[in-house]
């Protein structure tokens, strides 16, 4: 058993113990406080959790690809903010306060295009100019926190947009009638499906294609990849741009689910980009694991709604902190993930 295998299995065990601990804690809380479980875990709850999880999962997939290739994109949060504001401004520009669904999809597309341009510049700064990845990532966040409300103020006069529109859910007749599964699978936001497709495709590309192996090699052993005649930095450019695009898409999806832009405080993104980083760490850089972790955090985020409907008197503001606490618990138990060997190091070819 190689060292890597050993550490991987140890991590899996640690993570298992952590999850078990969480479950035991949860169960103890349920018994102790006499929580009505059937009123908390409902179909509506699963749906809300899926909605909340999809932006996080998208950003997590992006961040995972960048980090696998050796670049720590800590700017996910910022790129999500830029995605959300671009989508909002585009939506308003196309359809005013009464946009159609076509406008909405076009706005999401425009947000993606804008993210490509933005992350190209970012990638040049990181790879060509070897900028400090942590500081530059923080800078993207700060820029988002400033420029997004600024843009909102220019367009709407305040940092909040008026109500625009939400994405329509698709609904398949007859199939919806199936109990439990029907309303979850066959009446859903199309972006949840988009997210699911991205997650599975990301897994296939990373583990089953030649390009996926290049990405892994660029992070774990860039010299070997270089020797094999593949341009390491080109791979990294691609993954960094992809990560920004996924985060931007995540922000746009967040907007499409919310229906309006909120730029107060930490903006409507409110830490989801940071949670996305933890989601892929928790998923041990596996897209499927990252998506599962995103679902966990989405569920924690939506617990407050369930507690309210179940008449459990906990301050909504305090319950809203559940995902942040969850992130710290997860990182503590699962902190020692095996990072790709060359994360954070600029690569210079010897030629």
């Amino acid at each position: 058993m190689s060292l890597a295998d050993y550490s991987a299995s140890r991590e899996a065990r640690l993570g298992g113990i952590g999850l078990l601990g969480l479950l035991v804690l949860g169960a103890a809380a349920v018994v102790w406080f006499d929580v009505p479980v059937e009123r908390i875990v409902t179909v509506g709850f699963v749906n809300r959790a899926l909605l909340a999880a999809s932006p996080i999962a998208l950003a997590a997939i992006g961040g995972l690809y960048a980090e696998k290739s050796g670049v720590f994109n800590i700017g996910l949060e910022g790129f999500m903010i830029f995605g959300a504001i671009t989508a909002a401004v585009a939506l308003y520009g196309l359809g005013g306060t009464d946009p159609t669904q076509i406008h909405l999809w076009a706005a999401v597309l425009l947000a993606v295009v804008f993210s490509v341009l933005l992350t190209l510049a970012y990638a040049v700064l990181l790879i060509r100019f070897e900028a400090d990845q942590i500081v530059a990532g923080l800078a993207v966040w700060f820029m988002g926190l400033g420029f997004a409300p600024f843009a909102a103020s220019l367009v709407w006069g305040t940092v909040r947009s008026p109500g625009l529109t939400r994405v329509n859910y698709y609904s398949l007749p007859y199939l919806v009638e199936i109990p439990v599964v029907g309303p979850i699978l066959f009446q859903q936001s199309p972006f949840v499906v988009v997210t699911a497709v991205v997650v599975v495709a990301a897994w296939v590309v990373l583990y089953r294609t030649r390009y996926g192996y290049w990405i892994q090699a660029a992070g774990d052993n860039p010299e070997a990849l270089d020797t094999a005649g593949v341009n390491v930095n080109r791979v990294r450019y691609a993954t960094v741009v992809f990560s920004g695009v996924m985060a931007g898409l995540g922000g746009a999806v967040l907007l499409a689910h919310a229906g309006n832009f909120i730029g107060t405080g930490d903006t409507m993104v409110d830490g989801r980009g940071w949670i996305a980083i933890v989601a892929y760490l928790f998923g041990n850089y596996n897209p499927l694991g990252a998506a599962a972790a995103a679902l966990l955090f989405g569920g924690l985020d939506m617990l407050q709604v369930q507690f309210q409907t179940a008449d459990i008197a906990v301050s909504g503001r305090l319950m809203g902190l559940a995902p942040y606490v969850g992130v710290i618990v997860v990182l503590t138990v699962w902190g020692k993930t095996r990072m790709p060997a060359s994360v954070g190091e600029p690569y210079e070819s010897e030629e």
Binding site: A139, F150, S153, D266, Y324, L331
Partner: protein, 378 residues
């Protein structure tokens, strides 16, 4: 690795670490800081022009709003005081290679601890100056303890469980805002309070007005911040503890060889950083506000302090001019908000650009080479 470290090699490694720190000369760093700020401001003005406003008018308002009157200057110094302390808090951690992004959360807990300890103790102490000074001392201590503890937690999680401190401290910021916000609106809110706030500090708690006739600023506060700069600066450059702290940031292995307990060093660094961060909250409560409010309305000193510290190359003394710059920007924000059509959030965006450019010194080296400017920076 398991060989007994031979002292010659350790010495050489430590020397190399010191060399590396001195490698980028002071002039080069000042050049990068000035270049970053200038470029960011220039981009900001271009954005102002693109948005259809008059950039020259905006630039004038920035200057008028920060230094144009005694009131504006006092306001600039008020923000500068907070940024000096917050910047030093960040610098301590960054110098030691620990990314404490949680200064905001730590200053929130520091501030609330300061207000609560003073309000609770006030009835047991005499009124008048002696009681006031003792209460201030108690408040400052309480804020340092609270901030230190709130930073020690992510420090310990990093040191002993490998939890990435960037993410845990950001999460702890959200948690601090939520918990203190809830408390200030709930159990800590007096019955007669119309807005969300704690009890007022007693009348005898406050820094005396010297020179400036501006209620939210006192030279005593600025003096306190500068004393902290001096103490931390001496600690980092003249003591064994500071030397170990900085080396473990640059050369972890070398530091470990020379007998430094790396895990404990991380916790100690975070605690010290958090203690200074806590003081920011105390100075805010005592000098600026006179009570504590919902932290969402507090201002983002803890985040902007990261830019302050980076601009100063994480040097406590360099933090002072960087803090003055950011103090001026924040002060100008207050002016711009009232007297200009340009949305004030632009200034936050410019701050982000400053940080971005500070992160990429290579960019300026290239510009310097291409243009043949900055020969003196080499």
């Amino acid at each position: 690795m398991s060989d007994a470290p031979d002292s010659g090699r350790v010495r050489a490694a430590l020397d190399r670490a010191a060399d590396r720190m001195l490698d980028a000369s002071v002039y080069e760093r000042i050049g990068i800081a000035v270049g970053s700020t200038g470029l960011a401001l220039a981009i900001g003005l271009v954005i102002v022009a693109l948005a259809g406003y008059d950039p020259i008018r905006f630039a004038t308002q920035l200057v008028v709003g920060s230094f144009g009157s005694e009131r504006a200057f006092a306001r600039t110094l008020q923000f500068t005081t907070l940024f000096v302390l917050a910047g030093v808090a960040v610098a301590i951690a960054f110098r030691a290679g620990v990314f404490n992004i949680g200064v905001q959360g730590q200053l929130i807990f520091g501030g609330i601890a300061c207000v609560l300890s003073i309000v609770w103790l006030a009835p047991y102490l005499p009124e008048g100056r002696i009681g006031g000074v003792s209460l201030i001392v108690v408040g400052l201590l309480a804020s340092a303890v609270a901030g230190g503890l709130y930073a020690a937690l992510p420090g310990a999680l990093k040191a002993y469980y490998g939890a990435n401190e960037i993410i845990t401290t950001i999460m702890l910021n959200f948690i601090a805002i939520g918990v203190v916000g809830w408390a200030v609106d709930g159990p800590l809110r007096p019955d007669d309070a119309r807005s969300v706030r704690t009890e007022y500090l007693p009348d005898n708690v406050g820094f005396p007005q010297l020179l400036f006739d501006y209620p939210s600023f006192s030279l005593v506060g600025l003096g306190l911040a500068l004393v902290v700069v001096a103490v931390i600066s001496v600690l980092m450059t003249r003591t064994r503890f500071g030397y170990d702290m900085v080396t473990s940031g640059y050369q972890l292995r070398a530091a470990t060889y020379s007998g430094v307990d790396a895990e404990r060093m991380i916790v100690a660094t975070m605690t010290l950083s958090g203690m200074v961060a806590g003081l920011v909250g105390a100075v805010f409560a005592i000098m600026v506000q006179g009570y504590f409010i919902d932290p969402t309305g507090l201002g983002t000193y803890g985040f902007d302090a990261i830019a302050v510290s980076l601009l100063a190359a994480n040097n406590p003394i360099g933090v002072v001019p960087a803090a003055l710059l950011f103090g001026a920007l924040d002060s100008a924000s207050s002016h711009v908000q009232i007297h200009s059509e340009v949305p004030v959030q632009l200034i936050d965006g410019i701050v982000g650009l400053v940080v971005l450019f500070v992160a990429a010194p290579e960019l300026f080296r290239m510009i310097a080479e291409r243009t043949g400017l900055g020969g003196g920076e080499r």
